[in-house]
Symmetry: C2
């Protein structure tokens, strides 16, 4: 860990060499940023206008099912602060093997996609080894880490963007491992994890999206939903937990909801981890054989497993009806954990890259602050 | 990152070799654990009684100031589930240098402790190099990571314990770096980070501990408070934000509150990061010189810096009045970031070690579950 931290630092220092020159002239003299420091009661929050990307098309909010080629959701109401640079993060990629084909589009369920014949043991787009995948993960981790910091910085400086990874998959498909091994690569201050279980009594008294809205990642964060609103069209459909017409309406409600999120600055990355029945058997078996894994096992897992065909159907319908242009699904073969983790890291990094994040321009007078700091140079020293 | 993950796995597999034998007989046949899986609506939560440690003394709730030798807070109402093993985590420590003296007691402010003459550049108890410290961090990280998983497992199985790291320090003292580099070593699902800024209007309408209670880590988690209720006896004292008698009463209220927390199963680790005025100057200077760090700077930092002697006094009083036996302060020299990070990792790992965490005993019939799983061995395969 220490080694990887050290190498990260080195890469970072290197990447920043070109940026340490004279900063841009501060654009106003307002004191205070949107930092929440207890000792700063008066904060002048700059009001920044909408700044849409110059060359990007307006978002297509159509909820076309089976979008084969999805475009990124384009924030419409999202606020992006002024940035002084949007240079890509420089990362050393020596020895890091690349995909034979961009993995994002490859895993989006297009026309004729059939989950029942999906190969959960495949590694589409990747002809490297597991070792190659680990090396690429490490390189991506560095990049992801800096991109996350830029996103966080933007969020603290008046921006309104965030990234939300929606993770679905049957028991043992590796959702927890994604949280640990992918999100674990970035600063925990910048991530917001939420997992969704059986709705509580209170949650059941509300619309199914109520608890989801309450759990959205704060601005500037990478959120992860371990299960999500899709449970309301998965377990709810399989176990018929609502009237058919209500269930049927949910797909459209979800599409509208996700379009709304995209419009307010949240990039949604949807991932379904798909394992084979045999692989699930093996993983459940291990949980039963190892006493240190018993706590992860639930007898309910077997009941769910018994409904494999029904879940396959329910997932198929989810892909058919909610893989939109703005928020496409990625159906990820997950029998190989190293592969699914690499894929999610890749998708997440790409999503952040697409935000063209820079560092926020100071909203205070940098020269004045420098002068004021110089005046205090010996102040503390003499006092203590 | 991938490398360190791999080595972690190897160490873990090694550590578990001895545990993969026959599991203990399940103690009851109840279905379901306290996992929150959406597909398990009916969950029989075992009601487990209080199980205090056998040889441990009752907690001393006295709020003796300047405790030179503090004992761990002993949970009184805390629930510990049955565990099948409380073996220490096995970690390879080859080449990992040890402390010349246990660092915990060394950093507790005892009689005659004087913050004004404290050496923020020292590395007490550590005569190794920075490189040695990194190696030890890595080894501790592995241990911390497994201990965190045990704590989480316990929390999901009816336990009621958690660990709360309370982090205080002036601007630039490295609180964020602790979150990133120390808490970043464990599964993000197991940590709960909260930072406290200027109280909101709503928060100001409540008792100062109200927002703190609302932010306590859930059972089974490692919580981190980046600033905390201590702001209410730091900035509040320096800036006289409340009447003197109200401020004066807060120390006792804090001690009572923390004793209550300990009693309900929360181990509190209190850390104050102390930097020198010169070091703060350097760090603020860097934030002003590097455009990619401007977002971290706030003009308010200079106002706080100007009150260095007042903050020194306020911190001194905090140590004098709230370093209790159950929740002692650790005053950590923080001019060397590598040192303060190592110290916090050490303190956190020790706190978790002291919980004697094992893996929860299954609260379902393991043999019956095995048999049920076998029956479904080909079920899914034929279905898809």
């Amino acid at each position: 860990m220490a080694q990887s931290t050290a190498s990260k630092k080195a890469a970072k220092a290197k990447g920043k060499t070109g940026k340490n020159g004279k900063p841009e002239k501060a654009k106003n003299g307002k004191a205070g940023m949107s930092k929440t420091e207890p000792d700063k009661a008066e904060e002048a929050k700059p009001s920044k206008g909408r700044r849409p990307g110059p060359d990007k098309p307006a978002p297509d909010k159509s909820t076309a099912a089976k979008a084969t080629k999805a475009t990124k959701p384009e924030p419409t109401d999202a606020v992006e602060p002024d940035v002084y640079t949007a240079d890509p993060v420089e990362v050393t990629r020596e020895g890091a093997k690349d995909w034979s084909e961009p993995v994002g589009p490859l895993l989006r369920p297009g026309d004729g996609f059939d989950l029942a014949t999906f190969d959960a043991g495949a590694t589409p787009g990747w002809d490297g080894s597991e070792k190659d995948a680990e090396r690429r993960m490490a390189a991506l981790g560095e990049e992801l880490s800096e991109l996350q910091e830029r996103l966080y910085a933007e969020g603290r400086s008046g921006g309104s963007r965030s990234v939300l990874l929606v993770l679905q998959g049957l028991d043992t498909s590796g959702k927890g491992g994604i949280a640990r091994h992918v999100l674990g690569m970035v600063d925990p201050q910048g991530v917001a994890l939420r997992s969704f279980g059986v709705p509580t009594l209170q949650e059941r008294e509300h619309h199914f999206l109520w608890r989801i809205r309450n759990a959205l990642p704060p601005t500037g964060r990478i959120g992860l939903f371990d299960r999500s609103h899709y449970e309301d069209v998965l377990v709810a459909v399989v176990d018929e937990l609502a009237p058919p017409e209500e269930l049927d309406a949910r797909y459209g409600e979800i599409n509208d909801f996700e379009a709304e999120l995209a419009g307010s600055g949240t990039t949604i990355v949807k991932v379904a981890l798909v394992i084979s029945p045999q692989e699930q058997y093996d993983r459940l078996h291990e949980r039963l054989e190892r006493p240190d894994k018993h706590w992860k096992f639930s007898v309910g897992d077997l009941a769910t497993r018994a409904k494999w065909p029904q879940y396959t159907q329910a997932y198929q319908r989810v892909f058919d009806r909610t893989s939109t242009e703005g928020a496409p699904w990625h159906v990820v073969p997950a029998d190989n954990k190293w592969f699914s983790r690499l894929v999610v890291t890749e998708l997440l990094t790409q999503a952040l890259r697409d935000l063209n994040l820079g560092w926020p321009v100071a909203d205070f007078d940098v020269d004045a602050a420098r002068a004021a700091l110089e005046e205090t140079k010996d102040q503390g020293t003499t006092a203590s």
